[in-house]
């Protein structure tokens, strides 16, 4: 076999990066569980008609085909890989509604696949970490205020730059547009959603062309989108534009509550950013995007919102609120910026040196004692000269080498970074907490 080359869009990490990813996923999971979200996984495939239900062919679905499908068995013929975790979750909720307890809180951390053109931070296979709270028929509003707190806790527990969650409320936009007299608020929203990409002049044109706005209506839409506040002062800024509509009132009241909850729980976490629209028609209340402070150019690394209809079957309807952390995207960008590092590439804390091949059983015993006490340990691959064994530990990044005492003498352990060597008993010796496990840090 000739040396293989990477596949564009299918990132694979080297062991140190994978250690960081594993750590990040573990911390995220742990925060999600502290908030009572239960772990869930769905299969990687969905029926093609489900994947294409909303006409989302732009996600470039990967379709499966069996290499040797028997003619009589076409069961796999119409399956595709999921392109997000929302479509499978909706299907799962419908399929298992009778066995779930509502409001149902679940987290789901899985790979998804999209056959898009690969570029920086945009992959064909990537890891997402989603939380959603869904209920039957109605979902209390307060869950919309809870989601940013979960994400704030999850991301601030990581050694990554500070995050800023940008929140808005669809009702504010829709109420405002309707109050202005626009009759197609969704078209207006789609135009405003392009603000960062095409600038205000082009958005004004789009508003006129696609949402039937007059020049002054377009200007008002743009003034709304300019409003940004780290507190509840956005409310008076909106009021000052002089537009009135009951839906606007409702949206403003909700956005105030979200901002108040965030201010109490995590000052500085949230900012009300009235240009945030989110592409999909799907959302009906609060919407979220998340920036890394200092890395705003990366775009949103965590987005979501409130929806009224995750899924429905017959008379049943499942409203909910959810958000998705783009784990691969976040890590790929931070790796690219050399913004994360790991103290050592391997989990191993101790290498037990091997004086002679005959002593392997005894060295294995020492290793077993250390492992039972939670200390990751390997035994040296061979009874080479000690200098060579120490270099082996150095090359792997293992901080401690354990030397069995000869002729009944006490064992010793050497910190090969400092050279300090002390007497030690595997039953009692404990490394400093910082050395016990791999540490993830910002360089």
């Amino acid at each position: 076999m000739s040396k293989p080359t990477p596949l564009s869009g299918f990132p694979e990490w080297l062991p140190p990066q994978r250690a960081i990813e594993q750590y990040v996923v573990d911390r995220i999971r742990s925060t999600f569980e502290l908030y009572g979200f239960a772990p869930l996984e769905t299969r990687a495939v969905e029926p093609l008609d489900q994947l294409l239900r909303k006409g989302e062919t732009s996600k470039e679905v990967y379709v499966l085909r069996r290499l040797q499908a028997a003619a009589e068995d076409a069961s796999d013929e119409s399956l595709g890989l999921h392109f997000d975790l929302t479509v499978p979750f909706a299907r799962y909720v419908l399929e298992n509604a009778g066995k779930l307890t509502f409001p149902f809180r679940r987290y789901q951390i899985q790979k998804v696949w999209r056959g898009e053109r690969p570029q920086e931070g945009r992959y064909r296979e990537f890891l997402q970490a989603d939380i959603d709270i869904v209920d039957r028929d109605t979902l209390p509003f307060h869950y919309e205020a809870e989601i940013p707190l979960v994400i704030g806790d999850a991301l601030s527990a990581l050694p990554i730059p500070k995050v800023r969650i940008q929140v808005n409320n669809r009702k504010v936009c829709e109420g405002f547009y309707r109050g202005l007299g626009l009759t197609d608020p969704e078209a207006a929203l789609r135009a405003v959603d392009k603000l960062d990409k095409i600038g205000p002049d082009k958005v004004a044109e789009l508003l006129t062309e696609t949402a039937g706005a007059t020049e002054s209506q377009a200007k008002a839409c743009l003034r709304l989108a300019e409003i940004s506040a780290p507190d509840t002062s956005f409310e008076s800024a909106v009021r000052a534009l002089g537009v009135e509509h009951p839906l606007l009132d409702e949206g403003l009241a909700e956005l105030v509550l979200v901002m108040q909850a965030a201010a109490e729980h995590a000052p500085g976490l949230c900012v009300a950013e009235l240009k945030i629209a989110r592409g999909l028609d799907y959302y009906t209340g609060t919407v979220y995007e998340t920036q890394l402070v200092g890395f705003e150019r990366f775009g949103s690394i965590c987005s979501g919102g409130r929806y009224d209809n995750l899924a429905s079957a017959g008379n049943e309807r499942f409203p909910g609120v959810g958000i998705s952390i783009g784990v691969s995207r976040l890590l790929g960008l931070l790796f690219g910026a050399d913004a994360l590092s790991v103290s050592r590439p391997v989990p191993t804390c101790v290498l037990v040196a091997l004086p002679t091949d005959e002593q392997r059983a005894a060295c294995d015993r020492t290793a077993a004692v250390l492992r039972r006490r939670g200390i990751a340990t390997e035994v040296s691959p061979s009874a080479a000269k000690y200098g060579k064994q120490i270099r082996f530990a150095e090359r792997r990044g293992i901080p401690y080498v354990w030397f069995p005492g000869s002729d009944g003498a006490q064992d010793t352990v050497k910190d090969i970074r400092s050279g300090t060597q002390i007497d030690a008993d595997p039953m009692t010796w404990t490394p400093p907490a910082a050395d016990l496990r791999q540490q993830i840090t910002r360089p």
Copy 2:
């Protein structure tokens, strides 16, 4: 959308089962890391020619096709989903050999896909947990003795039936067959591999037909396959058959060492079972299969062995030893036998009751304090009557309900299983260790 139905062969767990799976994977990982295996993940797809390299079309590879591939971009046209974790690992090692430190110890816990006919414990999408140790050019034998110890520790840490690892050594079989005068030892091995399926008479016929054995040679092969020992006594049993060959000597010496290491580390874990062949030509030394005691009918839930050539490019060769736990298979079978249960379906330990809607902020503060102390907490969805809020906790399986004290009185916490209610401060109250997290047990 009408109610969706499950896809045969693509198992999905309900939240309690998923909690068990998560726990099992975490424990396995933690043992692997204690032995110094580094986490690794590879992409889900491989070039089709890699997947079909060994003519393994019987694995029923799933091929990918993009729904809307641009004519000029055929880059995804020849990709398939991996059917195991060995093919991707071999490719990864070749691709990154210059950046890895050898011997390279990695674990990899990922889904794999095979379009086989689904049946009990056999899926089209399933989770595997693999470890491998690979080196450049040569790999010391002692790693073959280490693998069963890792698996013994990993599986005995789980609340599953006791496991028994069946070990054999390919050199014993090949040396024995050659010593007998058989010239196609691989054909003989393939015949003996069918022993449990088709019985000794049919195997004898096969040996005659496909491996050119005489009746007495076939009988000798069967007598070798009958040998089974919980200790090193298999050696004299083999010697008693009177066959001699240098490769047989080498194999017996190695198998003795594997059994001795296992007996010292974990008495009763391993049994020398000379009928164990493993299907693939790939293996060259020790081979492993693993049974659940009392559930032998499940077949092997963890298999692997020593191989001389994981991958090679030019002059480079990567020998190694590895083993794979069939996690989905193991869990599917145990779930089917009702052999595993979880203390509660959700991570949540405490539900903070809500006296009035106005007190939600205060209740959120209590929840935040408990979470900061590692106690998974939710706040009640609504300020319903306390009876209803308690029933909500009961339905979700949450063991404790926290009642905010009114008018400056002390908060209380109630164990809703026993009814015991005590004064409590969120800064200091701690649940019993058994209630802090979900407990996985055998019923």
